[in-house]
């Protein structure tokens, strides 16, 4: 894989659900090492875009490139194996499996041995303050803990390059939110992981993200630093207008 700065490039992507244009000609470039925010009012197409990037949905038109290689049309597991992990708005952990077992699977799919995977999982669970719960079933965890587990589970990928997060801070306890923010910073600075984060929490996005992209009604309406987009009349209209 080459080291070009454009890690992710979304080119004129359209996603139709029947007659509904959920993503309308969206283009986006994310550079390596960035923490990019993806914001917009409800129903603006953020989650759809994430689902297109991670192979859950197929694009109707346009293309998605990762390190210059076209990835739209690939299966989610192939995309994951290339180093793109994701989280879901409602934490999708394997509820009948233990916290530790949840952690092991992404490492196994990347060829880590049981010992390596366990050691890495325990290290991450310790960081996330979940180590004491490692033998508990995920269904016994709180919503916030499940979100945290879902996030650190993605870090188990041995060659993680891009982490796409859908509302990682929604409805979680303040202390858990702090751990999530710390983990994002740690992986970004220490492991050069690029993040694309969908969030409604403007203060957190502002603190974390170098740049934000704003979607509204399926279209990209603005891009820039948080200060820049906050003063953009189109963005103000999208959030405050009708």
């Amino acid at each position: 894989m080459d080291d070009r700065s454009n890690l992710l490039e979304v080119k004129n992507v359209v996603k139709m659900f029947g007659g509904l244009r959920a993503n309308d000609n969206i283009s986006l470039q994310v550079e390596k090492g960035e923490i990019r925010g993806l914001i917009g009012p409800n129903g603006s197409g953020k989650t759809t875009l994430i689902n297109l990037i991670t192979g859950i949905y197929e694009v109707t038109e346009g293309s998605i490139h990762y390190y210059g290689r076209r990835i739209d049309g690939l299966q989610s597991n192939v995309i994951a194996s290339m180093g793109i992990m994701r989280t879901f708005q409602v934490a999708r952990v394997w509820r009948d499996m233990t916290v530790l077992e949840n952690m092991l699977i992404p490492a196994f799919t990347q060829g880590l041995s049981r010992r390596e995977a366990k050691s890495r999982a325990e290290e991450l669970l310790d960081f996330a303050l979940l180590i004491r719960l490692k033998d508990k079933q995920a269904k016994s965890l709180s919503g916030g803990q499940n979100m945290l587990l879902q996030i650190v589970r993605g870090f188990m990928h041995k060659d993680l390059k891009l982490y796409v997060m859908d509302e990682p801070f929604a409805g979680v306890h303040q202390s858990i939110k702090g751990i999530i923010i710390e983990s994002i910073k740690m992986m970004n600075q220490g492991k050069d992981v690029t993040f694309l984060i969908v969030s409604h929490e403007m203060s957190t996005v502002k603190a974390l993200c170098n740049k934000v992209t704003v979607l509204c009604k399926g279209e990209r309406i603005a891009e820039g630093t948080m200060e820049e987009v906050a003063n953009d009349p189109q963005v103000i209209d999208a959030y405050l207008g009708g």
Binding site: T54, I56, Q75, S76, N77, A80, S81, M85, R86, F88, R92, V93, W94, R95, D96, M97, E101, L104, I105, P106, F108, T109, Q110, R114, L129, L130, R132, L133, K136, S140, L141, S142, Q145, R153, G154, H157, S175
Partner: protein, 325 residues
């Protein structure tokens, strides 16, 4: 993991008991246990597919029938020896199940159940209606593998292949593949997003489970000497599910406990004729109402009650709060 833990020692003792049991029981009970071992393989392999992986197939019994008919027909019509017909029977079930697995990849739940049931009916009716080739409803004689109707060698044969099937399933479930299968059942979208190739593992598990059923069917035919489309009756499938559910779905011991205990119970109730089905189904209702994890859940609760569970329940959230001080 310690090999000589209490559980494994218990299993070894059970195995030794099973090996020496024919010395003290009659031919009748040897035959009953042989059939119970056949159903143990069927239940354990269905548990791998329907329990662990969440692919609720209603065509599992059909693979035993396909295996039995393939091997028998190869011998009867083509003069094949056992060493050709038996592997061929198992191989064909694996090939057919892979094709069915590919067809059913994007189908879950009730739809998967319906498709596999329809497949089972097509196959059963083929064997019923193609009289000249399969013997129709009358069935077809299947050469006895040991050349005798004495149950003892068949008892050991089925004990051996049941142990083999159970060990194979245990090895799969403890391997990385076992983790993938459980993740696919729990949340296939999350599994795929975390890099699990769900297509590959769904087909794999369909093939392995059906291959085991095929193997059981092949040897079943060559043990009882006559096979017929009765093997494909939906009642057979219902019984397999009942064994798993009564024993404990998604547990390794559950299908064994379920198959052996229910078969034993049915023999005890033989004098009650058809009324035993009423008793059996009443037991199913009671177990499902009070212990929907089956007899294994009952054992777990008893164990917990005996140990008095000193720590008591502590919520995961409380633990995190404690850690954070």
């Amino acid at each position: 993991m310690k090999i000589f833990n209490l559980k494994n020692i218990g299993l070894l003792v059970l195995l030794i008991v099973a090996v020496f049991l024919p010395v003290v029981i009659s031919d009748y009970w040897r035959f009953v246990l042989t059939i119970a071992f056949f159903y143990t393989i069927m239940a354990a392999s269905w548990n791998l597919l329907g329990g662990y992986t969440g692919q609720f197939s209603l065509g599992h019994h059909t693979f035993a029938m396909i295996g039995a008919y393939t091997s028998t027909l190869l011998m009867q019509k083509a003069g094949a020896p056992f060493w050709v017909s038996i592997p061929a029977g198992i191989l064909l079930t694996m090939i057919i199940s892979s094709l069915l697995g590919v067809m059913c990849l994007r189908i879950h739940g009730i739809y998967l159940a319906l498709i596999t049931w329809a497949f089972a009916e097509v196959v059963r009716n083929y064997f019923r209606l193609h009289y000249a080739f399969t013997g129709g409803d009358r069935g077809i004689d299947s050469p006895l593998i040991f050349g005798t109707m004495k149950p003892t060698p068949y008892y050991y044969l089925f004990l051996g292949i049941a142990v083999l099937a159970i060990v194979l399933i245990a090895v799969i479930m403890r391997s990385k593949i076992g983790y993938y299968l459980r993740s696919i059942r729990d949340d296939p979208i999350a599994a795929r997003s975390m890099g699990v190739d769900i297509v590959r593992y769904k087909i794999f598990v369909f093939m392995v489970a059906s291959g085991l059923a095929g193997m059981a069917g092949v040897f079943y035919g060559h043990s009882i000497g006559l096979i017929s489309p009765v093997m494909g009756d939906f009642n057979e499938m219902a019984m397999i599910i009942i064994f798993v559910v009564i024993g404990g779905m998604r547990t390794q011991a559950g299908p064994i406990v379920g198959a052996i205990s229910v078969r034993y119970l049915m023999e005890l109730l033989r004098a009650q004729s058809e009324f035993r089905i009423v008793i059996l189904t009443a037991i199913v209702i009671l177990i499902m109402r009070f212990f929907n994890g089956g007899l294994m859940e009952l054992f777990r609760r008893l164990k917990k009650w005996i140990r008095r569970d000193r720590e008591g329940p502590v919520s995961a959230y409380q633990e995190l709060e404690q850690k954070q001080g």
